[in-house]
């Protein structure tokens, strides 16, 4: 480590090696939680989005209801219901479910996944519905069946339209994960709150954690810009 950083670390009370480790552990927890919920959420959302566009109301109706419920209520409330509500169910402590719901990580993961899946479903559905008729007609003219059409034409085309909105969803999810600290998970925000309450130093504790979130966001924005460039490379001018 450079000399001046070591010196500065020795001078202040708050950013000691110990608290920096707490922040690091919090960062790992945040990334772990957000990454898992986004991956599972996306995997769930793609089939749901396709089914949501089906004309049969018995197929699309329940999915509409699900996205309506989870987009219509705050994530904090969903987390409270899943974490504290489930613990109130009579006899749950003696069932095997308690293995999952005892620790806060899985309830939080479940709440985050259901929430992001609902938003992602609607994002992808919107992109699917907006597929130009010409593309579908052309695919039909080639004799492609529904499955092939979906795989080769509609989904790739929808992915290009959805990627920008989805990038926003990913960033929102990262920031929304800050509420994990209310169910005793020590994520980045949890670490900041612990350190704040120990030193009564709101500026140091929270500005540092804000910078951590900003760095993470920057990485995400950068990654999505690369992805967008790749997906939309056919729209680039030929010369460049």
């Amino acid at each position: 480590m450079p000399e001046f950083i070591v010196e500065w670390l020795n001078q202040n009370d708050i950013f000691t090696a110990m608290t920096l480790m707490e922040y690091w552990d919090g960062l790992v927890t945040t990334v772990h939680l957000v990454f898992l919920s986004l991956i599972i959420g996306l995997v769930v959302a793609v089939p749901l989005a396709i089914l949501r566009t089906v004309k049969n109301p018995f197929v699309s109706g329940p999915i509409w209801l699900y996205t309506y419920l989870f987009r219509g209520t705050p994530l904090l409330i969903q987390l409270y219901i899943i974490y504290y509500g489930v613990a109130q169910i009579h006899g749950i402590q003696d069932s095997f479910w308690w293995e999952i719901f005892r620790e806060p990580l899985y309830p939080a993961l479940l709440a985050f996944t259901l929430n992001t899946a609902a938003y992602t479903t609607e994002i992808i559905r919107g992109a699917i519905v907006a597929t130009p008729h010409g593309e579908i007609e052309a695919a039909k003219a080639y004799g492609m069946n529904w499955f092939l059409r979906m795989r080769r034409i509609i989904l790739p085309s929808a992915a290009r339209r959805a990627v920008q909105a989805y990038a926003n969803e990913v960033i929102f999810m990262l920031h929304a994960s800050a509420i994990a600290s209310v169910v005793t998970i020590v994520d980045l925000t949890g670490a900041a709150r612990n350190i704040y309450s120990r030193f009564y130093a709101p500026f140091e504790a929270f500005i540092f954690v804000a910078l951590c979130y900003m760095a993470l966001t920057f990485l995400l924005v950068f990654a999505f810009r690369k992805l967008e460039k790749r997906l939309l490379r056919h729209q680039r001018p030929v010369s460049s």
Partner: protein
């Protein structure tokens, strides 16, 4: 203008010193309700441990006391703005506050208490037995510091923002035991079925003191003298026993 007059009178009275304290006016601020320290009884009268102690203290100091209701957020600003002269509203003595106000000697300290389900049979002071247990505390409290410092490596500590969340998790069996401000535990945990107190209450922190403006040094001396007398002549104990089943004297 009126404020100025009052301030001037107070200042004059203070300058006159202890000898002529007979008709001194003092205004004491409370934040209600905070049972059993200060609250309104069924008839709407202000009462509670600190209110009665304040009354006894005023009698001892031979001062005319007026009780003022002030919300917590405006306590120290109100004191500094001379809206009242003393705060006796369960204000814990901390270094941060001591930079802005002058504290008397502490007049009470609530211990932290251990509370657990009936089935919990571990000695909380036995570190080997406590190994791997999950302990709940309220974040940033003296109880939090105590558990973190003394049991940090041994037990699994979960920190909560509110006492309600913590009690819910104790009920939901996510926590083995909680360490919480005794009055809070007594009200929110012990009155539920299936819970008990374990071990001995532990006195933590510097206690609660009367807060005054820094410049009112003579007043601080008088308050300290009055509190000392009350603690020694049994008045304090009599008031304490009316409200508490455990010792909060310091």
């Amino acid at each position: 203008m009126k404020k100025l007059m009052v301030a001037a009178t107070t200042a004059l009275a203070l300058m006159a010193g202890g000898a002529q304290a007979q008709d001194r006016d003092l205004r004491i601020a409370f934040d209600v309700p905070y049972e059993p320290f200060e609250y309104r009884n069924d008839d709407g009268e202000l009462t509670g441990f600190e209110v009665e102690l304040a009354e006894a203290m005023c009698q001892e100091m031979q001062a005319n006391c007026e009780f003022v209701i002030q919300a917590w957020d405006g306590m120290i600003p109100g004191l500094l703005a001379r809206k009242f002269d003393l705060i006796m509203s369960s204000m814990s003595i901390t270094e941060e506050r001591a930079k802005r106000v002058n504290f008397s000697e502490p007049y009470y300290i609530t211990p932290g208490g251990w509370f657990a389900p009936e089935s919990f049979n571990t000695d909380v002071t036995d570190m080997a037995a406590m190994e791997g247990k999950t302990v709940g505390v309220q974040r940033g409290t003296t109880m939090d510091s105590y558990v973190t410092e003394n049991m940090g490596g041994t037990v699994n500590i979960k920190r909560y923002t509110t006492a309600e969340d913590m009690v819910l998790d104790l009920e939901g069996q996510r926590l083995d035991v909680v360490f919480v401000d005794y009055p809070v535990g007594e009200q929110t945990i012990l009155n539920r079925e299936g819970f008990k107190e374990v071990g001995e209450p532990v006195k933590l922190g510097q206690g609660v003191g009367v807060a005054m403006r820094k410049r009112d040094r003579e007043l601080a001396d008088e308050v300290n003298a009055a509190l000392k007398t009350l603690k020694e002549d049994g008045t304090y104990d009599a008031i304490m026993e009316k409200y508490f089943s455990y010792d909060i004297k310091i």
